[in-house]
Each structure stands twice: as C-alpha cells, then as structure tokens.
C-alpha cells in the first residue's frame, strides 16, 4: 500500500539509491554490476512488463478483458437476435442451454421450448421439449446490423440453421417484453464498458491537469485545489449523481444522455487521480534528474511532459485501470435506479433494472445474469489494475 521509509530497504543491495530514471536517462546509465546487465539497462517499460508477467491472475484477467473488449466492439456479431425486437408471444422464456455436441459430433443445437398457458394464473409456462432440437450453425445469417457503424452485414457467430422457418433461440432467455437477453447482454457490454473508459479518460485529463498544477506549483494554488478535492470527496456520491442525472432533460437523445452521464461520473472521479498525480509530482520535484533538467535550462513544459510524466505514467495507468470498474459499477447503479441511461439505450444497468423487484426475480431468475457480467468484468479489471500497480514501480 503506502510506501513507508522501509520501502528503500527492500531494494536489492546493488541499488544504493532508489533508481528513478526515465527512458532517455537509462540509455546512458552504466550498469553497476555485470551479472544482471540486461536488468540494469532495460528501459522502464520493459521492467514493468517483466514484473507484470509474474502476476498470473492479472495476465488471465487481461485475456478475459480482451474477449470482453472484442464483444464490446462488435456486439452484433455475437448476438443471435435484434436486441430491441419485442415479441409478445415469447415473454419470460427460460434459458435454452447451448449443446455443442450432438451424437458425438460438433453440431450445436438447443432444445425447443413449448409454452402452455396456465389456466389458473393465465401465465405462459415454458417447458423444454427434449424431443425437438433446433440445429444451430456458426456464421449463420440473421438480422442486419453494423459493425462500428461502418460495415453492414447479416453474419452472426451463432444462429439457428434455418431462421426463415421462424426458428429462434434464446440462450439466456427473454424478458418481460420478449426481448432476447443474450443479445441484449452483448450490446450492453458496449455501452457499459465504453462509459467506464470514457469517464475515466475525462477523469485522467482533469486529474493530471489539476493534480499536476497542484503538485508542481504548490503554494496557494495547491491549497485551493486540495480543499476543492476534499470537499468533493466528502460529498456522498450516489445522492449527488442521482440528483444530477435526474436533472437531465427528458427529451434529450440517447447520445446526449450518455455523454452527460459520463461527465457527471467523472466530476467526482477525477479527485482520486488528481491526488495520485499530485503525490507523484511532489515526490519527483526534488529528484536529481528534475533538478538537473531545471538547471540545464529546460522549460517547465518540457520538464513536466518530457521528464516527469514518463516516470510516473505507469502509476497513472495502474490508477486509471482501477478507476474503470468503479465507473462501471456506478453507471450500473444509476441505470438500475432508472436515473441513468434510458431505453432504448442498453447497458448492463438498464438490463438489471428488469430484475428490480422480488416478483420478477422469482418469475425469471435469469434476469439477474447481467449482474454476473458486471462482476466478471469488474473482477478482471481490479485484478489487472492490481497487477499493473505492483509492476508500476519495478525498482522496488
């Protein structure tokens, strides 16, 4: 956690003083010992990578996140149906388990469901019909969609073999409007992830700017910015976000609401990053290489951007990675309460809104599944962030 004075004692004996050297300086540095030459001449990023590689869970997480990112980039390809298409005849269909092997051969299929109306409750009750299989195929043709708004196609990763006969599959069941939850989950990942990334991006800009000013210049500016951060951090975030998002005009388009929510989330989010940046600036300001740069007449901009920023860029990346899951959870909170994104926008929070009360969960427990997507993503991001944070300071 916090590096105390004992942090220095953990450095290997060959390092007499903590080495804080940026990429340029390391080239002219002479290795103090012959044995670990590769280690001493390696640039900062290489050391970080070596450290990071040792963190197994972080590596696994980054692979998982890569998959999630691919889904988020082209959710239509992974969907089996139009996520916004409602179907009054297919309400609350339960999960149709995907079977990959049929009689020992790779022939994916799902069992069909048959609905029967319960004469007492007048509700449709769905039964899995083991006698009827719906054959599936890879790269099947389905509804038309666009990848990143550019390429129009009808090809999906998986789909019923003969959609023209009205065959439909619901891998994760359907909701109260008969919309396919699997497809909605795929599409939701795009919004949920991108809102997290965008909000953190805005926070980084604000955080580096204000934290940097605060840490580099110090004095009155520092005092004012620090008080501002303290005030913002002592605010209860969720009521504040609720109040701000509720104030967004009802007639705003989906895109505008999306950006407004990102801005609202980063309004408080930047403070943590600003503190991190300020701390780093304060620590680096007195370092020899910064003093040297100042004495040799570098401009302030050059000192900050060329000498100081690269030294703690890895810390910023680690801190921002840890900030993304927080943003994702917060967006989920807001949308879950009905104050965040509004339909027809699809995010994981919007999906979970369907599971807001006991009745719907008892009736359709699969509506809780988008929560699992949130947990996996947040878990992976946290593990990745922890790995990066440990690797960010490879000299320790």
């Amino acid at each position: 956690m916090v590096l105390g004075p004992d942090a220095a004692t953990r450095i290997s004996p060959a390092h007499e003083a903590p080495l804080k050297i940026d990429d340029q300086a390391s080239e002219i540095m002479i290795a103090p010992s012959e044995g670990a030459e590769a280690f001493y001449v390696a640039p900062n990023w290489k050391l970080v990578w070596w450290r990071f590689k040792k963190h197994r869970l972080a590596l696994v997480s980054s692979v998982i996140l890569m998959f999630i990112a691919i889904v988020a980039l082209a959710p239509g390809f992974f969907s089996t149906q139009d996520p916004n298409a409602t179907n009054a005849k297919e309400l609350f269909i339960p999960i149709q388990t995907l079977h990959f092997f049929d009689e020992g051969r790779l022939r994916p299929f799902v069992y069909a469901v048959v609905g029967q109306r319960n004469p007492k409750t007048l509700r449709m009750e769905w039964q899995i019909d083991q006698s009827k299989k719906i054959p599936l195929r890879f790269f099947a043709r389905g509804y038309e969609y666009k990848i990143l708004g550019l390429i129009t196609t009808r090809i999906h990763l998986l789909g019923p073999a003969s959609p023209e006969e009205g065959e439909r599959i619901h891998l994760l069941g359907t909701d109260r409007l008969g919309r396919d939850q699997w497809s909605r989950l795929m599409h939701g990942s795009q919004v949920s992830l991108s809102i997290g990334l965008l909000a953190v991006f805005l926070s980084i800009i604000l955080g580096i700017l204000l934290g940097g000013i605060s840490g580099y210049f110090g004095g009155t500016v520092d005092l004012i910015i620090q008080r501002l951060i303290e005030i913002l951090q002592s605010l209860p975030p969720i009521p504040i976000w609720m109040a701000l998002t509720a104030a967004l005009p009802r007639d705003w388009s989906v895109e505008r609401v999306y950006f407004a929510i990102t801005v609202i989330l980063s309004l408080i989010g930047w403070t943590t990053l600003a503190r991190e940046v300020r701390g780093r600036f304060l620590a680096l300001r007195e370092e020899d290489f910064v003093v040297a740069a100042r004495l040799s007449g570098c401009s302030q901009g050059r000192i900050i951007f060329r000498h100081m920023l690269p030294t703690f860029a890895s810390h910023i990346i680690a801190a921002s990675t840890l900030a993304i899951p927080v943003m994702i959870i917060n967006e989920t909170f807001l949308s879950f309460l009905g104050l965040g994104l509004r339909p027809p926008a699809i995010s994981w929070g919007v999906l979970l809104q369907e599971a807001q009360n006991l009745q719907s969960i008892v009736l359709a427990p699969w509506l809780l599944l988008p929560g699992l997507a949130v947990i996996i993503t947040v878990l992976a991001l946290n593990l990745l962030g922890d790995g990066l944070r440990d690797a960010a300071d490879p000299y320790h």
Binding site: D6, P236, F333, Q356, L368, G371
Partner: protein
C-alpha cells in the same frame, strides 16, 4: 487538540454553504418553477387555485425575484426549520424526513460497526498467517466483495431467502410493528430486520478495509521492533495486538472520513431494493416525481451526514495520533 477541533469546526459553515448552493441547484434544475408544478399537480387531482393564491405563493418563495434572493429566502426558511412542503406527499418535508432519518442513521452506524468488527480481525489474521489457506480464501472473498454491486447481493439474497425459506426479507418491521409506537418489542424487531441490510451494505467496505488492514499490518510486522520484542520472549499474541496492530489501525481511522459518506450514499440503493423506510428510496421517488424541494432537502441532509462523518474521523485521528496534534499547534 481543542485548537485543532475548533479549526475543523470553523470549516463547517463553509462546507454547508457550498452544499446548500448545490442543493439549491438541484431544486432549480428541472424546467419550470415550484408553483407551476404545484398548479399542475392540483389540476391533475381535479382542483385549482385562483390567481391571488398563486401570486401569494410566488411572492412567498420569491419566484419573481433574482436567483440569489430566492436562494437567500430558501436558506432563511431552512434555518427556521422550514424545509417546504412535498408536492407528492402533501406533507411538510421536515416531518417526512425526520420520520426516516433515525432509521437511516441507525442503518449507517450498524453497517459501520459490522464492517470494522469483521474487517479488522480478518486483516490481522491474513497478515499474521500470510499465504495460508484462509488468507487466500479471504483474498478471493475480498475481490468478489469489491466487484459485486450491492444491489446484486441484495437481490440474490432476497431471491434465495424467498426460494428456499419462503421468507420475504424486505422492509424493516414485521407487519404488526409497522405503525406501532416505539416499544422494546419494536426495537428488537427492528434489529432483527436491520442486520441483513447492514451486512449487504457493509460487504464492499469490509473487503476494502480488510485489504488495507492486511497491507498495513504486513508493513509493520517486518520492522525491527517486532523482532526485538519477539527476541525478548514476548508472547506472539500480545506482541501483535499491542504494537503493530495499533500502528496499522491508525491509517484506517482516516478512512472513516470517506467511508461514512459512502455508507450513507450506498444505502440509497440497498434501501430501494429491500424497500426500507429510509430517506434513500424517498430521494429516488422525489427525483422521479420532480418533487424538488423534498429532493433538495434530502440531498442537503445526506451532505450534512457526510460532513459529520468527516468531522468525527478528523477528531478521532487527532485524538489517536499525536503527530497530527503536534503538527497543528
């Protein structure tokens, strides 16, 4: 010490001033003013108001005057204890809030106690038994605790309780106690319902706190003084609890400052899912129905609770850590 606390107390009016501006902004945010919404509300319920009454109302709230005068009037009324009338409930806001405030605070404090009572022992155990089975177990548990949104925990537990035990865990009182006056039985009934929301709400915080405690204590355990005490034959149990734990807890005190506001803040969602009679669900309803004076008042109350939390943590920190006291004087 006194000087330090006075200094902190002097900051309060400034904070409250900023928060009140924010709450006022919340009230002003939706299009149209209070009286327009009120007239619409009346029209919806079939009654109406004559022009003289409308003008009187407008004058009372200063709606025809500049913004800062409206703000001053609003603050003036708050200081006199008048938080306005809820359009939605047709009752004074003060009454509505005070009914629920106690339960909100009780839930927050119980959550806080649960978090500390669980997180500190876990942190100590994990640090003293590093890389043991339970250390790994708690690490995994902590990661999941942080990654699971509180409402998910609430929903899943609600579902499990209903599915397997047939009980509904929503609300804070058994049916016979809902409108009953405060008796000993009602308090016991409340505590029997309150622990579950407190646990759900505290899970995330417990996970974070246990991790911080473990890391802090690990830093301390490697220090020479621990070795020294061990060499002198001090019992391990006493050794750990008496010195390193005390030092490791100190930084945690400063987390109260941001943790208490987070509890109150997070309780909004848990309370909404579990349908608890706290001010959280009321805020949500007020915001959805654009009952802005009530929403503004609740936001202000939340800010007030957060400020009190920060203040408590500052005072505790000064009391426990002599370095902070010295620095200030």
């Amino acid at each position: 010490m006194t000087q330090y606390i006075i200094k902190r107390l002097l900051l309060l009016p400034l904070l409250l001033f900023i928060f009140s501006i924010f709450a006022f902004f919340v009230i002003q945010a939706p299009p149209g003013d209070f009286v327009t919404s009120y007239i619409a509300e009346l029209a919806a319920s079939g009654s109406s108001m004559d022009q003289a009454q409308i003008d009187a109302l407008r004058a009372m709230y200063g709606l025809d005057r500049p913004m800062y005068i409206q703000y001053l009037k609003w603050v003036g009324r708050i200081i006199r204890g008048d938080l306005g009338v809820s359009l939605d409930w047709q009752r004074p806001n003060l009454e509505l809030i005070s009914e629920r405030l106690m339960l909100t605070v009780a839930l927050g404090l119980l959550t806080f106690c649960f978090t500390w009572a669980v997180a500190i022992p876990i942190g100590i155990y994990s640090a003293t038994h590093q890389y043991s089975f339970f250390d790994y177990f708690f690490t995994v548990f902590n990661y999941f605790g942080v990654a699971t949104p509180t409402f998910m925990t609430a929903l899943v537990l609600m579902w499990l309780a209903f599915q397997y035990f047939g009980v509904s865990v929503t609300g804070l009182f058994s049916p016979q106690y809902v409108d009953a006056p405060w008796t000993w039985g009602r308090v016991v009934d409340l505590l029997r319902h309150l622990w579950l929301p407190a646990v759900i709400l505290g899970l995330d915080g417990t996970a974070r706190l246990a991790r911080i405690m473990r890391a802090n204590l690990l830093d301390e355990l490697n220090k020479p003084y621990v070795e020294m005490a061990r060499a002198k034959g001090m019992s391990e149990w006493k050794l750990v609890l008496k010195y390193p734990v005390r030092l490791a807890i100190n930084p945690l005190i400063s987390t109260i400052g941001w943790y208490l506001p987070l509890i109150f803040s997070g309780s909004v969602i848990v309370a909404t899912v579990l349908n608890l009679p706290t001010i959280g669900p009321m805020l949500l309803r007020a915001l959805t129905n654009q009952d802005m004076f009530l929403a503004g008042a609740i936001v202000l109350i939340y800010c007030g609770l957060a400020v009190i939390g920060t203040l408590i943590s500052d005072i505790l920190l000064a009391w426990l850590d002599p370095r902070i006291r010295m620095e200030e004087s």
